[in-house]
Amino acid sequence: MDISRRDLFKAGGKLLVLASAGATLEQITGAEPAPEAYKMADHWWGMIVDIDKCIGCGNCVRACSNENHVPAGYFRTWVERYQVGEDQQPRVDSPNGAIDGFPPNTHAGVKSFFVPKLCNQCEHSPCVQVCPVGATFVSPDGVVLVDQTYCLGCRYCVQACPYGCRYLHPETKTVDKCTLCYHRITQGLTTACCENCPTGARQLVDFKNPKDPVHEFLRHNKVQVLKPYMATGAKLYYKNLDGSVR
């Protein structure tokens, strides 16, 4: 067939203009969510954990599992038991994430304690940094979330998390993790794990709330974050975390 070069150029040019116009229109008319009582800009969420209060009962793990339908064998939160000898080399166990608590400790006479672990809700999250499509993100109120309808399941974020908080959900085949019970905290409830912790070892905190106990807590206690040299901006603060904890 006899299409001249000129015709092809014209057609190509028209296509390009149309495409660009379409793209611009889409951005302009994109809907915004309606205004409501919970304002994201008023909150900056985190959590504090008091090691001296944790009794390793596993209530938090069970509560999280019930609240968020966490599949068996995967963990949004878990508790580790540390037994640290004089050489500061720890022996650690976490039977099924401590969902049924721990079997009794057979090594007395050694420094031992429990360490609850969960997503550190990092401000400079390495998992968000590596997501190729924008399926995981830090919300404007400081919670690291996963968009379940957008995640490809590439698991790059699982590799990038220094704390082992993420997993691939075996049914949805997308990545899942602790959401800080976002669906609860945005309605004035506390997280399932904090609600069910019998000793108050876990506490949800809101840094932007001037009346939140976190401000006094941080002023009067020695606190640590996990792997501070990773500079992830972790917002999970531990009180009296031993140096041997990894």
């Binding site: 995967y74 963990f75 878990w78 580790e80 720890p90 022996r91 650690v92 166990d93 976490s94 099924n96 994430g97 672990k117 390495p126 940094q129 590596v130 997501c131 190729p132 499509v133 924008g134 399926a135 957008y150 995640c151 490809l152 399941g153 590439c154 698991r155 790059y156 699982v158 590799q159 990038a160 998390c161 220094p162 704390y163 082992g164 908080c165 993420r166 997993y167 691939l168 949805t172 085949k173 997308t174 990545v175 990773m230 990894r246």
Partner: protein, 387 residues
Amino acid sequence: MIPGVDGFMYPNEIELQWSLLIVLYPYITGLVAGAFILASLERVFKVEAVRPTYRLALLTALAFLLVAPLPLQLHLGHPERSMEMYLTPHTSSAMAMFGFVYLWYLTVVLLLEIWLDYRADIVRMAQSTTGFMRPVYKALTLGSENVSPAARRIDDKVGYTVTVIGIPSAFLLHGYVGFIFGSIKANPWWSTPLMPIVFLFSAMTSGIAAVLLLYMATMKVKKMPIDMRCLDTIGKYLFYTFLIDFTLEMLDLIHRTYEADESFRSLDFMVHTRLMFSQIILQILLGTLVPLALLAANQLWKFSEVNRRVMYVTACLLTLVGIFAMRWNVVIGGQLFSKSFLGYTTYKVSFAEREGLFTAVALMILPFVIFVVLVRLLPPWPERKVS
């Protein structure tokens, strides 16, 4: 006690996330990059001796490139959402550039270069073939049958430019994979600035070895004589590339052993137990030292043609196994130890699942099938004549 776990691992770490298919992907793109670099040796760096492999190398690169996205697609939890990488690429993620680098390399570099180099033959075949292949060749001409000497000289010049652009593009196509691993601060086995460079040089090594083997195989099948000068030159470049690759990997190892930071004890134990076979025996001894010795021998002494051929085939086969082992040790090795440095897990390759052994084998056979089709479609001989 959890089966397969020694010591303590974070509960979510016990199951490996990146499987055999993710070992396969850098291996395949590595072959693409390496084959292309070999082709550019002739086109850009004027190493005339390797001319007989020029077109073959390009077809090898294309055959592997077409298969490259498949292991990734099969690995994704939602392959139907992979378009999202084109819609909303997250610019802070090295993985997001995959789609664009891949398409760039496939179209603007590889397909364009092959088209420009073969154009005269395509036009000739479009005019002379009969039957159902005729419309295929006609389509490949893209409607132009101008093969005047002047047009072909322009093709040559443009092809040269495309190859020049292709070299950094090939580096990017495979180097970004190295960066995907090298930039993960959470994983000390992966996190090193050397990673993209190591990946690149091992890619070049495997690509050159693959083209050498395919050249010998194709000549044997077609009952054509093997150009020994070509083979010796490829062997020489393979030797130098491999030497640099080995030096870089040893540098990484020595550096780690010397600095002996917190991760070292854990990684050292892992290498000596879980990676003993794949790293020490397969990658270093059989996959690197033996081929290097065979190739070095050919630089130092003159062997008979038959002996040289045997040495090259052996060296190249071992090299290909060794570079695969390297990819395995990086990808799988990086997931076998706990980020708490307190434990190790095991990787059991499944057989018939989506990411299992059968799939991997099929994905490695497929490029050779495509290669055979491409060689039929676009015969590498006779080669283009440049006036």
